[in-house]
Symmetry: C2
Subunit: 322 residues, 2 copies
């Protein structure tokens, strides 16, 4: 399932407008444009599209009411990636050289800050009100706390509860906030707002679990990243947590992932142990359960077209290859 194919007509049409708006949003300053233009290319736009679908869930919402916030959501996501790349000292993101690699950490930090500020400016400029501002600022705070949690426990095995807290803060809160914001902008009723938020939350948990699985087992040609990047940087995720719980070779795996230095051979060995255990199935089953919970929460009051698109996005999240 291709992500764009999952969108309904309204969303697909919005996607073109969104791309223009994103480009426009960074055009205030020539250097910012030069630095950011490559960074904003090629994303799936999952976050703004979730927002746009929910904003149009019962009746069409005028673009002037949705586009600035949709753009702000993608800018926040991009800012967090730019700051992540400093952290990961990654050289490439979405197939292009990172701001960090191109301009150095100094400027990458500032470009990320600029994008955060621009997102909040877009929201203030378009009078979304305090409730929207609050959701956005909390989302960014949670994102930071989730990332800090991760960075402070590198090469340590988290409990299942710690893993869930982390992926909730890092990913699920963001996706559920996008849905919630859409529902709020569309002025849906409280129950619909809560249900769409729960949809986004299930989607987000599944999204991150699949992401963590793809890091080990994705097609490197499609993901563009060598296997085991998380392990190499010390981030221990669900496939490892599960294998440690059930594998006969748990001791070997534990030594390997907590040693603090991970070689190519270590990653290959870890992948073998994970595969020999039921970890892949276990992760898929968990992700599918979250997707099922997302699906169950979809309000019955949405238009068929949006409902179908949100269901297809749910399918996309578990079936995706990158």
């Amino acid at each position: 399932m291709n992500f764009v194919a999952a969108l309904n007509d309204v969303a697909a049409k919005n996607l073109h407008v969104l791309e223009e708006q994103i480009k426009l949003s960074i055009a205030d300053d020539p250097f910012i444009y030069e630095a950011c233009a490559p960074l904003i290319k090629g994303g799936k736009r999952l976050r703004p599209m979730l927002f746009l679908l929910c904003a149009n869930a019962k009746s069409p919402c005028p673009p002037e009411k949705t586009m600035p916030l949709a753009t702000a959501l993608e800018l926040i996501h991009t800012a967090s990636l730019v700051h992540d790349d400093i952290i990961d000292t990654s050289k490439k993101r979405r197939g292009v050289e990172t701001a960090n690699a191109k301009y150095g950490a100094q400027i990458a930090v500032l470009v990320g800050d600029y994008l955060f500020a621009k997102a909040f400016q877009l929201v203030a400029d378009n009078n979304y009100g305090a409730q929207v501002q609050l959701i956005l600022s909390k989302l960014v705070k949670n994102l930071c706390v989730g990332e800090i949690m991760q960075d402070r426990s590198l090469f340590e095995v988290p409990t299942l509860a710690e893993y869930y807290t982390r992926i909730n803060l890092k990913t699920a809160v963001f996706l559920s906030s996008c849905c919630r914001l859409g529902a709020i902008v569309a002025e849906l009723d409280t129950r619909e707002v809560e249900n769409l938020t729960a949809y986004g939350s299930g989607l987000g948990l599944a999204f991150q679990i699949i992401d963590d699985l793809l890091d080990f087992f994705g097609d490197e040609k499609i993901t563009g990243k060598p296997h085991g990047g998380d392990l190499k940087s010390g981030v221990i995720t669900l496939p490892v947590i599960r294998a440690l719980d059930v594998s006969d070779e748990a001791d070997t795996l534990r030594e390997l992932v907590t040693r603090g230095e991970v070689t190519r051979a270590d990653i290959d060995a870890a992948i073998k142990i994970i595969q020999a255990a039921d970890a892949v199935d276990y992760c898929r089953t968990r992700a599918e359960a979250h997707i099922e919970s997302a699906r169950v929460n979809l309000p019955l009051t949405l238009t068929t077209s949006v409902s179908l698109a949100l269901e297809q996005i749910a399918d996309f999240v578990v079936d995706r290859t990158r």
Copy 2:
């Protein structure tokens, strides 16, 4: 002139409440508190105090209307210092180990992001409205653009106009926004808002020029930093720009500051050339002219006590030793 001595009674009383509020604002998460508590200690609180003075300029403004925004302004300032320290790879700030030195760049980036987000949350949570959000987000944007401008032209001699653009974006917009926000929260009339904004702008330009002078000639025991830090990191400021313009030894100085590597001996040589030229006097004269323009812009309608405090802050800015 001591900064606190410059404050009027209302502001001095507010300062204690502010310190508590700042501490409280980072208490949501235990690690954030642990990481940020040392960072928020020991600042002059110039920005929130300017805001508080302007908010109380004609009649007392209730703390619940001022404290969240005052706190947000100091958090934004602190966030920018945390991100600056990543950039400067500084080891100490305000006498304590930087977040960067203590936790590494990864976490320092995220702690700064968290503080920015928390600032916007405080403002959204307290219903300051879109105008305030807009001023805040633009202030952060300008700060970033000013810093980026600086980082992209290290070891290059800026024109006087480029220098002014940079210090305006980096410092003057911030201080003038603090005054403007105070005037807006106090619901002063348009003319008073503009005049207090102009006061803050003059103050900010003078503040940065004096800062740039102190970097060469400050008492190292008081500033806590060795002379010539700017030069060492490639930031060329007004004392050098002026000396390059008038000194007989301009060629030597130019070679020295643009070479890309600056030794202790180079800094001593540069200081000698700057001193032999009229650069110190020139910078002081410029700073005093901006302070004079700040002073002239002070509305006559303010209470005597606030007016006096703002005048004394102006004195403090040119007379300060750190």
